[in-house]
Structures are given as C-alpha cells and as structure tokens.
C-alpha cells in the first residue's frame, strides 16, 4: 500500500480543441513544466462538457476536474463557451451545496497562445487538490 505522503492527486482536464488544448501543446513545445497530475481529454468545445462527465469523473475516483476553453468572445462555435459558463456555474455551486469541495471542480479560460497560463492553472489546481486530500466522496467508508 502507498504511504499517504506518496499520494498524488489525479486531475481530469477537459480541454477545448481550439484554445486550451493548443495552449497545453504550446506549454509542451515551449518546454514549460507543469504537474503530471493532469490527464487530458480533448473535447471539441468547452460547451461539449456535460455536468454528468464531471460527476462520473468524481465517481471514478478523480480528485478534481478542470474544464478549460476559449475566452468569452473567442469560441470557434461562437457561443459554446458561454453555455459552458452557465453549466459550470450551476454545477459547481450546486455540488458545493450538496457537499463537494468547490476546489474539485475548476474552470479556466486558456487561449492557444497561453502555454504559460496553462502551466499556472494546472499547478494551482493541483496544489489545491493536494491541500484538500484524496477524493473519498463516493467511498462507502470515508
């Protein structure tokens, strides 16, 4: 069994294909370092992310979920990120009421030129997850 000190949070990232995924790519090609705690799923648009994905990820044991898309006004599909914004707001707030630490559900705007910002966001979110500890929400014994 792993020691508690060895525990590393698992963060699931849903990155929009046009901005944030390209931003993550740029972080890589620019040789910037960011925590390896993030596992990335490329989505066509942040508006593709169903709140169900977030709950499913937490149910499967991810410690946090990050949804990242284009800045408002920059959406490749014009309005996808605006819709994502509403969805993320109610999901985060509602789950906080139900009893999920809001740090586990994160959103960011990262453009294709912001490799640096992507690095910062992932570092910050990972740090937050380390502080709140492993996700035991769906465990029978907590």
């Amino acid at each position: 069994m792993k020691q508690e000190s060895e525990w590393e949070p698992k963060l699931l990232g849903f990155l929009c294909r046009w901005c944030s995924y390209a931003g993550a790519d740029l972080a890589g090609t620019s040789r910037k370092k960011y925590p390896a705690n993030i596992r990335i799923i490329k989505v066509p648009c942040s508006g593709r992310v169903d709140p169900l994905f977030i709950l499913k990820a937490l149910r499967l044991g991810f410690d946090g979920v990050l949804v990242s898309g284009c800045y408002p006004g920059d959406c490749h599909y014009q309005t996808g990120n605006y819709r994502a914004r509403r969805r993320m707001a109610i999901t985060k707030k509602f789950l906080e009421y139900v009893g999920v630490d809001p740090q586990r559900i994160q959103a960011s705007w990262v453009s294709a030129s912001e490799g640096g910002k992507f690095t910062e966001v992932v570092t910050e979110v990972t740090k937050g997850l380390k502080e709140i500890g492993p996700n035991k929400l769906f465990a029978d014994e907590r």
């Binding site: 709950l55 499913k56 605006y82 009421y97 139900v98």
Partner: protein, 321 residues
C-alpha cells in the same frame, strides 16, 4: 363558499369547451378514493365535467399530462402548474394554441400530514377540514379547531411567489392573496447550509441510501420530459441501474441540473417519493440558485429562451481562472 362558485364556473366553462369542440380533453381534479384526497380527471366526456372539483387539496401538477395527450387540451392550473405549462411552451413541448388554460388563483394547498401532526389524529378520524381566509378550520369529534393557514400549508406553498396564474385563457376567480412565509419554505435548506460541507454530503448519503430508484420523482415531474433519460443509456452506462446511494445521488443531482430553470418548486417530486427523501431541499436550492445567478424564474414568459440554451455576455464568471 368561494370554492363552490369557482367549481361551478369551472364545470360550466369545461362543458362549453367540450361542447363547442374547442378542446378534445379536459384535465382537472375529481374526488379521490381516500378521505380529503383528490385525483386527476382526464376526460373527453362532457357529462363527466360535473365531477370536476376545486378545493384546498388539489395538489397535483397536472401539466405533467400535457406532453402525453394528443390534441387540444383544457387544463386546470394553479399558479405553479401554470408556470410549468409556460415552461413546456418555452421548451417547444407544448403549443400555446393547443392548451386552454383554466387558471385557478391558489390560496395554498393543505398538507394533511401537518394537520394530522397538529391535531394528533389520523386523517380518517377528522370530520372536516376547510379553509376560511387565512385560517384552516379542522372539525374533529364535532369540535372546531382553528389553525393559521401558514401552519398547515405545504412548505413549497409557503414560498410561492405567484399563486395567481399569469398566462391563462380563463381565470376562474379573483387573484389569490396567499400569505407566504419564505423562511419556512427554506427550512430544510437552511439547516443544511448551517452544516459543514462533509456533513452535508453525509446527510445526502444517508438519504439516498433509502432510494429504491423507482423514478417516481422523474415520472411526476413536468420538467422531466426527455423521451430517453441518461440513466437508461447503456453506451456508455453513466450510472449503475441498481440502487446504490452513489448512483442514486448522481441521478438526482443531474436531474436537478437538467430541470434548472424549468422547476417551479411545485413540490411534486418530494410528495411522490415513497421513501420520503427531502427532494425539495435540492430542487428549491437550484430554483433559488438560478434566480440569484441569472435572475431567472421558470415559466414566467412564454417567449423567453430556456435558461440553459441562453446566455448573456455579462454572466458571472468569478469562479473561472
């Protein structure tokens, strides 16, 4: 009695609508099989409209049936039901011209469990329960007992903002003057908000451990109109079909997100629940949340875009990094 007059007018109007062929069906309430209860009446027959009733126990949100009936429908609607109908029109589930709304200004519906609690007797032992202004008069063993209406109405009625239908063809009575008690309607929520986060989650774990996934909440909800629900999808299977608290809770959280901006706090889900999960502590929270964030109240304007299909460039985003 005021209800009597409203009832007579309803029967006349309903009969006329059927006779003139303006509607194919009438949906209303008739006397139920258990004492004081009412049950939905769906009829094509102009003679059965005499069974229609209006009283302080017409609890169901009949708009649930609109999506199931073909043709033009005359429907009895209280304030909250009326908003559910408007919400269905906003979502293109019902055409405005296909419904004739018989609006009933609602003074609040009496919760018999609360009456039983106050009187200390089973409903079968009560002789009569009547509404008199802002009082409810309970006759038991020939003796009359008066209670303030606010003590015996359903919690959701106490939080009602629009007891009088706003979108109707015929309004059967003058506006209602329901006295709301906002604090009482949020009692459960406030208790939860006072708890630390982990304790709230523990609370819901305990509640949803009882859930048998009968889907009564989904079936009775007029806002839950999807032909195929995500819980029945198998590729991928989002949640297990067997009742485990984890999946039960996910089901209910997602259901609440799906009906955000459609839920009118009619309270039917909580009443339908056979294991008494306090579902209104979820739905009412979502109702208030979308009002806080987007100043959106469900079913107020049939021309308005549904909440989640719409956006404003100025929507709050303080939570986004």
């Amino acid at each position: 009695m005021k209800d009597r007059e409203t009832e007579q007018r309803l029967r006349r109007e309903a009969k006329a609508l059927l006779e003139q062929g303006k509607v194919d069906y009438i949906i209303g309430f008739e006397t139920g099989s258990l004492k004081f209860t009412t049950t939905p009446l769906i009829t094509k027959d102009k003679d059965s409209v005499d069974r229609l009733i209006i009283n302080p126990f017409i609890v169901n949100n009949l708009s649930e049936y609109l999506t199931e009936l073909k043709g033009r429908v005359g429907i009895v609607a209280k304030g909250c039901d009326n908003r559910s109908i408007v919400s269905l029109i906003q979502d293109n589930q019902v055409k405005r011209e296909d419904v004739v709304i018989l609006g009933v200004p609602c003074p609040g519906i009496i919760d018999l469990s609360k009456v039983e609690g106050l009187v200390g007797k089973d409903r079968d032992e009560l002789d009569d329960v009547t509404r008199d202004g802002d009082k409810v008069v309970v006759t038991v063993d020939g003796e009359k007992k008066e209670f303030p209406a606010s003590e015996v109405l359903f919690d959701n009625c106490l939080g009602c903002e629009f007891p009088t239908p706003q979108e109707y063809n015929i309004l059967l009575d003058e506006s209602s003057s329901l006295v709301a008690d906002k604090t009482a309607s949020r009692k459960g929520i406030e208790t939860l908000e006072g708890m630390p986060q982990e304790q709230r989650w523990d609370f819901w774990e305990k509640e949803f451990s009882r859930c048998i996934r009968c889907y009564a909440c989904r079936s009775i909800c007029p806002a839950c109109f999807c032909e195929r629900c995500f819980v029945e999808e198998s590729e991928p299977q989002w949640i297990a079909p067997v009742p485990r608290w984890q999946d039960n809770l996910i089901f209910q959280v997602i259901r609440n997100i799906h009906v955000a901006g459609r839920c009118t706090d009619c309270g039917e889900c909580e009443r339908a629940c056979p294991v008494n999960i306090p579902l209104r502590s979820l739905t009412k929270e979502m109702y208030d949340l979308v009002d806080d964030l987007y100043h959106f109240k469900a079913g107020m304007d049939k021309e308005a875009a549904p909440l989640m299909t719409h956006y404003e460039t100025t929507d709050p985003e303080d939570f986004i990094k």
